[in-house]
């Protein structure tokens, strides 16, 4: 028989080993030698704190009462781990990028760094976890009592109260020593994690050893064990489907929501890739843990005396069979399960309590006239955390003493699970739905918690007969039947667990969803929501603090108080170096403030860090004005670029215009050259004859009078021709330059034509028969009559000169067409050959060289004049003779009528 003293000695040695392991691991990590401490294996084993004493001892008891239903407690986490790629990976990524310290911190951070939410979650966690800690204390005490029962009265440890107290104090010391070494809860607690990894190995080996002993030692192999199971009371499959599904779901939910699980899985996570290993290794661990549960239960029911506590079969079966060392191993396994859970739970709870309850209150008291933080915050936070650990343990201990340590405590496991699971809607909604709001999360959480207390806690208190009467349970409050805690809305007959889980969680989800839909999130919430939901997109950092008001000195003082002088100095120096400033404090740029807030939040939680920085910097981090400023900034940039673009298109257009103008100029220059050469040619011809004949007159003696007269006549004629040419050129240049001033007056077309015909025919030696329709010519016009007459004279003279008919006839026809007045000059000659028709209106264009009488400027002048007068002149092809059509705007003609 194992003596109780030996057991105590073994336990003390084991605890000493744990202390040594934790201490060594911390030292190794501090000196940078602990690479293996960060291995995926250690991470996986640390997750095993999910298996507490409740599962180590309780699973067998559960199986003895309800058969295979106990596996549901492990199936939920298995499913969550296997779906890591979908869910846990995101949670871990968010946790690392936001440097969260606990589940309360994560939720508060997601919902706009709201401290109210964090406080609510913390309180819920304390309510849910305290009974759980009590349960662990009870299991350790019970296991002591099993040994004490064998050998009673040796020392005080068989008194349950004493042993529970000793264990509670010991665990508190361990948690304080290794859990609050460094302030940054985000830094890894290598000591604690390594110790619980070791404990995970111990409890697995212990349970497997007992299982192997039972199957092969007591039952004679797998076949025989299976036959024994089938022959027992648990031999047939008989599960309540509702409970099966509800508990599987519950355990899956709780696996991520439990503060201690969150601590080891998210906060202590070193590398995201560790999940890849844990995804299969942890389900394997759970499977091994539950593999021998049913055989142990069945064999225990068979071999142990009736009335034995099935919760302790793991321990009492080896003792009964006289395997003391196996019993001690089993004891160590149970002890490991209990202690590791209590240590991590106390650490997680203490972080939450100090960050979300103590610090805000302390900050509130500190809020003096000077907006800086005074006092040593480091010390305050650490002290708060240590006191919180002690308080958590004390709560657990008193809960254990008050509840009397009876079987009522055993059923508390699922009740606590349901309470913790109330965080699930806010957590899942926050990770996957950007529309989730703070108010939605708060109200869902509150309603769910109230329903949980109402449907689960109240009926549990019934036997104690404390606050409520049995009547209220059976008839509902104030006799309202549909409010009965066991049968809400009149739905009775459900299993109490299923009933409570269904109502509390579904109403929680519904309220969360509906309130989120109808409320509007603040700017901070929306920024954080986007960061959480799109964590894999690497969204750019939001514009956080505007540092213009912040004082670097104040920030430095505050950081020193939280991070410690050395770390703060290092952080500020690094930031200064990054900003390119040497030997000075860094500028409080938004980027730097962002980094600083993250760093501080690792120590005191997101909400507190936010509030502390807010005290110094002043003002909210992201206001609507900020967002609007960002928006208007980008709008300005957009506008500027639009303007640039418009300018560049305009430039391109101008360049194109310039090119066109340049081409035109080049062309005009060519035309000018051609014109000049034409003009000089035209001038040269008469000048040559003038010179020649004047030389003859000068140098030749003995010229007859007749000859003299003829030669000077030629000179005179040529001089006239020159003058005419110069007159025409001058006329044309005046017309082309647009400097002509029109002398508008009223008159009739007939008188203009009369004047033109008489002028053209005066002094003419060639006969021309002009036929006119004087009736049609009786049209009043308003125009520059002299210029118009000039055009007509020119046309008549042309006909006179170029008409090659034997009896030249010129018909002048006047007609009205639409809005215009047309005057046709048609002769009976051969007309202008087609290839010259395009050319006739050009300068110096002559139809035939031999008939050259003028300079070839007449028609060009006509065209210019008519353009000035608003009309036109064209050559009409297709008649027998040459036809020139002068078109005048009829509006003028009509107006004159």
């Amino acid at each position: 028989m194992a003596s109780l003293n030996l057991l105590v000695a073994v336990a003390l040695v084991y605890v000493a080993i744990l202390f040594a392991v934790a201490f060594t691991a911390d030292r190794l990590a501090a000196t940078g030698h602990g690479g293996w401490l960060r291995s995926p294996l250690v991470y996986t084993l640390s997750l095993s704190i999910y298996c507490t004493a409740w599962t180590f001892y309780g699973a067998v008891g559960y199986a003895a009462r309800s058969g295979l239903e106990y596996v549901t407690i492990y199936l939920g986490p298995t499913l969550v781990m296997i779906g890591w790629w979908w869910g846990l990976r995101k949670l871990v990524r968010v946790g690392r990028s936001q440097r969260v310290t606990s589940i309360a911190d994560l939720l508060s951070s997601r919902y706009g760094k709201s401290n109210a939410l964090a406080a609510c979650v913390t309180i819920l966690a304390v309510i849910g976890v305290t009974p759980y800690i009590a349960l662990q204390l009870q299991s350790i005490t019970l296991s002591f009592s099993i040994f004490a029962a064998v050998e009673p009265g040796q020392n005080g440890l068989d008194n349950p109260g004493t042993s529970a107290f000793v264990v509670a104090v010991g665990l508190a010391v361990f948690a304080i020593l290794f859990g609050t070494r460094n302030l940054d809860a985000n830094e890894r607690h290598h000591g604690v994690v390594t110790a619980i990894a070791l404990e995970a190995v111990v409890k697995l080996i212990a349970l497997l050893a007992v299982g192997i002993f039972v199957v092969w030692g007591l039952s004679g192999g797998v076949q025989a064990t299976m036959a024994r199971i089938n022959a027992s009371d648990l031999g047939t499959w008989d599960m309540d489907p509702g409970r099966w599904a509800a508990i599987t779901f519950l355990s899956a939910a709780v696996f991520v929501c439990l503060p201690r699980m969150f601590q080891v899985m998210i906060v202590e996570n070193d590398e995201e890739s560790h999940l890849r290993t844990a995804a299969w290794a942890f389900p394997l661990y759970l499977m091994l843990m539950s593999l021998f549960v049913v055989p142990i239960a069945v064999v225990g029911l068979d071999l142990l005396p009736a009335g034995s506590n099935p919760d302790l079969f793991v321990l009492s079966l080896p003792l009964q069979e006289g395997r003391d060392s196996l019993a001690v191993l089993a004891f160590l396994g149970g002890f490991s399960s209990a202690t590791s859970m209590v240590i991590v739970a106390a650490m997680a709870l203490s972080t939450m309590m100090s960050n979300h309850i103590v610090m805000p209150i302390w900050l509130w008291f500190q809020r003096g006239p000077g907006a800086t933080v005074s006092g040593d915050v480091r010390y305050v936070v650490l002290l708060a955390r240590r006191i919180a650990i002690a308080a958590t343990m004390a709560l657990g201990y008193f809960y254990y003493r008050l509840s009397g340590g009876g079987t009522a405590l055993a059923s508390i496991g699922l009740i606590a699970f349901t309470g913790i699971a109330q965080m699930l809607p806010a957590l899942v909604g926050g990770l996957f739905w950007r529309g989730a709001t703070r108010l939605g999360a708060l109200s869902g959480l509150t309603v769910g918690t109230v329903l949980w207390l109402y449907t689960m806690m109240l009926p549990g208190l019934d036997s104690a007969d404390w606050i409520i009467s049995n009547r209220m349970i059976s008839d509902g409050p104030f006799g309202i039947g549909w409010l009965r805690p066991n049968a809400l809305f009149g739905i009775s007959g459900l299993d109490p667990i299923v009933h409570a889980v269904f109502w509390s969680l579904s109403v929680n989800f519904l309220v969360f969803f509906v309130v989120s839909l109808v409320t509007f999130p603040g700017p901070m919430e929306r920024v954080q929501g986007a960061q959480f939901v799109n964590v894999f997109d690497h969204t750019p950092e939001p514009r956080g603090w505007s540092g213009s008001v912040a004082q670097s000195e104040d920030l430095m003082i505050m950081s020193q108080r939280i991070l410690g002088a050395r770390d703060a100095r290092a952080l500020f120096d690094a930031a200064a170096a990054e900003q390119g400033i040497a030997d000075r404090l860094p500028e409080p740029t938004p980027d730097f403030l962002q980094v600083l807030e993250r760093k501080l939040s690792g120590s005191v939680g997101a909400a507190t860090a936010h509030a502390m920085l807010g005290q110094i910097v002043g003002g909210a981090a992201v206001s609507v004005e900020d967002l609007m400023a960002v928006a208007s900034e980008s709008a300005q940039i957009l506008e500027y670029s639009n303007r640039l673009e418009a300018q560049s298109t305009e430039l391109a257009r101008t360049a194109a215009q310039l090119r066109v103008a340049n081409e035109k100029l080049t062309q005009i220059s060519l035309q000018k050259d051609a014109f000049l050469s034409q003009v000089s040619h035209e001038l040269r011809t008469p000048m040559t004859s003038i010179r020649a004949f004047s030389e003859i007159l000068r140098d030749t003696g003995g010229l007859s009078e007749e000859e003299k007269t003829r030669y000077s006549g030629i000179i005179h004629n040529e001089a006239l021709r020159l003058t005419r040419l110069l007159d025409d050129l001058l006329d044309l240049s005046v017309l082309e330059s647009g400097q002509i001033s029109l002398n508008l007056s009223d008159g009739s077309l007939r008188s203009v034509l009369d004047h033109a015909v008489s002028t053209a025919m005066a002094g003419s030696d060639r006969p021309l028969d002009i036929r006119r329709d004087r009736g049609a010519e009786a049209v009043a016009i308003r125009s520059d009559l002299d210029r118009l007459a000039q055009v007509f004279i020119n046309l008549i003279t042309n006909a006179q000169k170029y008409c090659d008919a034997q009896h030249p006839v010129l018909r002048i026809a006047v007609s009205h067409a639409d809005e215009t007045l047309q005057v046709d000059f048609r002769d009976n000659g051969t007309g202008i050959p087609p290839h010259s028709q395009d050319m006739v209106f050009e300068k110096f264009a002559r139809v035939s060289v031999e008939k050259a009488g003028g300079a070839g400027l007449g028609l060009a002048i006509c065209r210019e004049i008519l353009e000035r007068l608003g009309g036109s002149i064209e050559y009409v092809a297709g008649y027998d003779g040459a036809v020139f059509r002068v078109t005048l705007p009829a509006a003028r003609a009509l107006a004159a009528q």
Partner: protein
Amino acid sequence: MTRRRSPVFLERQNYRRRRWMEAARLMPLLGAVLFALPLMWPRPDDPDVVAGAVATVPTSSAMAYIFGVWAVLVGAAILFGWLSRGWADTDGAG
């Protein structure tokens, strides 16, 4: 906020990778269904069982089924972990 535009078609390797991710996402669902299947097994108080038409399932068979499914899921998780070991972090967001 600008989003990365994903191409319409992926090269073969990425295509395979996407399909594996979808399979991995479905794995917990498959596990849940498999673990829920025993709920349809006959129970001692079912009318059919009372009438003797069908036999109940012995616990040993139930254990074999549940632990078998469990082992298969562990194996599948090992396989996916092995396949996904070199994947970029940002792949398959959400």
